[in-house]
């Protein structure tokens, strides 16, 4: 499990507005890649093109190529719905389904895609919650509403929900920015464990977090508001934080930015 992502010359648009320009990068399978950069430089926008979630927004479209191993995500005839089953996503604010219990949240993706076998589902609930380091905390209240959990637990529930559909890649858009430090640590531990199975791409505003969890770091920037964002450089995380090759990167990580 865990596939390689290959992006070539990707431009992303909202209608006529070009939000991201000319991004090429390779993400190795079963690694953690962090996206850092100032607000509005297109990190979320670019991340969402990796599972075609940007198409949910009216006018959202891309030019360029995104390969998942040797599959072109944007080839004609590729169903974006199928892409999202292979490339899962975790959002900034924990968003469990409020009408569903913890158990139903975990298996929502399977259920809504037609899996009915109770044995399979029960097994998947435990497996996914174990995988999200949440099982021990919720195993006695699987039928309680997911919204009753703490923020950090909700976010791990969302991760359990995402991995229950057995994706190859997991995208995370600032998954800890709404969480307290202890919950953040729990998620970071979890990311370390998940990368044995999944290719993980995480957007973060927290530089220490990028340094702690990621193997590679990509720095995005934009020249001015209204201009498209660019990928400035991408390298081993050690390298980016200790010895970046571009001045803009150095300015940003040393806080001499803007």
């Amino acid at each position: 499990m865990g596939k390689r992502i290959d992006v070539k010359d990707l431009n992303v648009f909202y209608g006529d507005f070009k939000a991201v320009e000319g991004v090429s990068m390779t993400v190795e399978p079963r690694s953690v890649t962090a996206f850092i950069g100032p607000s509005g430089c297109g990190k979320s926008t670019f991340l969402r093109t990796l599972n075609r979630m940007h198409e949910v927004i009216p006018g959202g479209h891309v030019q360029g190529k995104v390969m998942l191993d040797d599959e072109d995500l944007y080839a004609p005839g590729v169903d974006p719905v199928a892409v999202r089953r292979t490339v899962g996503m975790v959002f900034q604010r924990p968003n469990p389904f409020p009408t569903m219990s913890i158990r139903d949240n975990v298996i929502a993706g399977l259920r809504l895609n037609g899996v009915k076998n109770k044995k399979v589902l029960d097994q998947k609930v435990e497996e996914s919650l174990q995988g999200a380091n949440l099982w021990n905390e919720v195993k006695d209240r699987l039928n309680k509403p997911g919204a009753g959990l703490s923020g950090g637990q909700q976010q791990r529930l969302c991760i359990a929900r995402a991995i229950a559909v057995e994706p190859q890649v997991l995208l995370m858009d600032e998954p800890c920015s709404a969480l307290d430090p202890i919950s953040t640590l729990a998620i970071e531990d979890l990311i370390g464990k998940l990368k044995e199975q999944y290719t993980i791409v995480i957007v973060t505003h927290n530089m220490q977090q990028a340094a702690r969890v990621s193997d590679k770091t990509a720095f995005f920037n934009l020249e001015a508001t209204g201009k498209p964002g660019n990928l400035i450089e991408m390298d081993d995380t050690q390298q980016i934080f200790n010895n970046p090759s571009k001045k803009a990167t150095e300015d940003y990580i040393s806080g001499r930015f803007g």
Partner: protein, 310 residues
């Protein structure tokens, strides 16, 4: 340079950013005036409401507190002045409920689907057109809705009027009400939930059916019941379309059927000289108010009980 507060005369202390009691006094005064005005407006608005309720209850309560009122229809009713029996309103109560129920069965699916289209799918010209039509529909006077159905049913097709015609006219009035309230409820569903579902590889229509609708279910039910209550009390189309009868009739599609508004309408001409007619009028009015009140409360209760906490 350091200033010690004790050294400054009191009059200057205010200028240095201390608490300025003069201005705050004016603000408190304004606040009090506004409070008094708002309470006065509230009480003035309350006067007609209390007056109506008092009139209807004082004149009609004794009638509706009898068992006959709920059990019997008006069969055997005699000429005004010679009939000393108030008799019952069961035929009219059943008629009103059946007509409103048939209206709801048709109107709610149309309204909810229109709202889903407008909120979840609608873009561009078609959506703006549909939204505009809903606006127009909600502005149509109820008597015009009745006339329209009459024109189609009787003048155009040459069919015989029945109670279902009233339902059809009321559908025109109910659809915009339920559509607008459902739209509001759908808009309240956070986009994050839709995105969470899409990100699991769930198609859009399934996301709407399994995530969006359940999340807004309680609001949609409340809105629908409020729509039901509104058409149950609606009168004008019935004046044109409903054929009053003194007998209980369960069949919407054949024969005449009474409703509470038409029961009132039939008895009003005699109420000045005949206490029994007057009792029927106020009894029916009282029943109608009670009905609408109960359905409103029911709607709110269901809304409260099924509300999703997030």
């Amino acid at each position: 340079m350091s200033l010690d507060v004790k050294d400054i005369p009191a009059s200057e202390a205010g200028d240095l950013g201390g608490i300025d009691h003069g201005k705050s006094g004016i603000r408190v005064l304004k606040n009090n005036i506004a409070t008094v005005l708002i309470w006065a407006a509230f009480l003035i608005a309350l006067i007609p409401l209390v007056w109506i309720l008092w009139t209807v209850l004082s004149k009609g309560l004794s009638t509706i507190l009898t068992v006959t009122w709920w059990q019997k229809d008006q069969s055997g009713v005699g000429a005004p002045g010679f009939d000393t029996n108030v008799r019952g309103a069961r035929h009219a109560i059943i008629g009103t409920l059946e007509i409103a129920a048939a209206t709801s069965v048709i109107a709610i699916p149309i309204a909810v689907m229109t709202a889903i289209y407008l909120v979840e799918y609608g873009r561009g010209k078609l959506a703006r057109g549909v939204s505009f039509m809903v606006d127009i529909l909600s502005g149509v006077p109820s008597i015009v809705a009745g006339l329209f159905i009459y024109a189609v049913w009787v003048t155009f097709f040459g069919w015989k009027l029945n109670a279902f015609c009233s339902s059809l006219a009321l559908v025109l009035l109910m659809v915009p009400v339920v559509c607008r309230s459902t739209e509001e409820m759908l808009k309240l569903v956070p986009n994050e939930l839709r995105e969470a579902s899409y990100a699991l590889g769930v198609p859009k229509w399934k996301t709407i059916v399994k995530v969006v609708l359940p999340t807004s279910f309680s609001g949609i039910v409340t809105g629908s019941l409020l729509g039901f209550a509104r058409v149950a009390g609606e009168t004008a189309p019935l004046l044109i379309l409903a054929q009053y009868t003194q007998f209980l009739n369960y069949n919407l599609f054949s024969g005449n059927m009474a409703a509470l508004p038409t029961l009132i309408n039939v008895n009003v001409p005699n109420m000045a000289g005949d206490q029994v007619s007057a009792d029927r009028v106020w009894g029916a009015a009282c029943t109608l108010i009670l009905l609408v009140l109960v359905i409103n409360l029911l709607g709110r209760l269901i809304g409260r009980l099924t509300r999703v906490k997030s």
